[in-house]
Symmetry: C2
């Protein structure tokens, strides 16, 4: 069984491959697929975007596909950056610019209101028209100085509840265990396991 992850992110591929429910499934990424078009992520929710990406992947490849959409929801910003997390600064995927902007916006917000959560939606779609979408969350709080070299995105600014380390200071397996994406992907894996046989 082959499953396409609709992403070019090597870390996401590695994370998916570490999930037990996917052992025995050959997981490939978009870099393994020829001539894949870039579609705009114009959904209004994480779930919309994950499903849109999974459907696109099925349409262009004919393979069963998993896609995710994730981001950070800051309470003081009414849940923003949210689905705009990766392009918050206007520069898509520029983690340093996105982190710097978020910190600047929150400069005058008191410590006690720096609560946030990472949110991930994980979606599955296949050529038979089956679709599943689930959500995972990791609550925590923001700090004002980045810490840690691991992870990506806003990980260096985020301390998960119950931890003293930032998400960027956690080992990958520690992070998977509590992360929004880990939770969403495991829940998805369980639900779609019957389709992968």
């Amino acid at each position: 069984m082959r499953l396409l992850l609709a992403s070019r992110n090597a870390k996401k591929l590695a994370e998916l491959r570490r999930i037990e429910a996917f052992s025995g499934v050959e997981i490939i990424g978009l870099d393994d697929v020829a001539a894949y078009p870039e579609a705009p992520e114009d959904g209004a929710t994480f779930e919309d975007n994950a499903l849109l990406k999974a459907r696109e992947a099925v349409r262009y490849t004919g393979l069963a596909a998993v896609a995710d959409d994730s981001g950070i929801a800051v309470d003081a910003l009414n849940g923003c950056p949210g689905i705009f997390s990766a392009r918050w600064s206007g520069r898509h995927g520029d983690d340093a610019a996105n982190n710097a902007l978020l910190l600047a916006q929150l400069r005058d917000v008191p410590e006690s209101r720096l609560t946030a959560r990472f949110v991930a939606a994980a979606a599955y779609a296949d050529p038979d028209g089956r679709e599943v979408v689930v959500r995972g969350e990791m609550p925590g709080r923001l700090i004002r100085e980045p810490r840690g070299e691991g992870g990506f995105g806003y990980d260096p600014l985020f301390v998960p509840d119950g931890s003293d380390l930032t998400a960027a200071e956690l080992a990958p397996e520690q992070k998977d265990a509590i992360s929004h994406r880990g939770k969403a992907l495991r829940a998805l894996a369980q639900q779609i396991a019957p389709y992968l046989r």
Copy 2:
């Protein structure tokens, strides 16, 4: 009667002076007050911030004071920039940077979801401990290219409902008549008129 507007913005002073209910009241701004400290705007709502500023002004000057806090609430951004409007790019008061960032963030959002509203809270406080705070709103939609030379802030990107012009293309009196700040200031003026005699 003297009334302090807790602002250094000449356009806001002029706007307040154009309000009929304030005719006969001498309105001064922070630039007319010596050694006024800059306080952080760390409230969680427009109303909080307007009241905080009005109270500060009373405390430092002993004068009756009016203050406002306003911004643009974009539906696709869950009401952000909101209270962060003036420092959205991290550069306080840099309209060009703030406008450019907002447009970049909304690049992939479909036209139909570019609805927004300007929101203003106007607050009054005086040495006798009286306080009033009111809210005004101007609904409309965003466009993708700035238009117009008037106004300030996000005005060049915003087309009020019922208009084809941006807020930056309206004459000051036209804008006052429909604007969030005009509505809030007129409502405030009516409520505080008895205190100004």
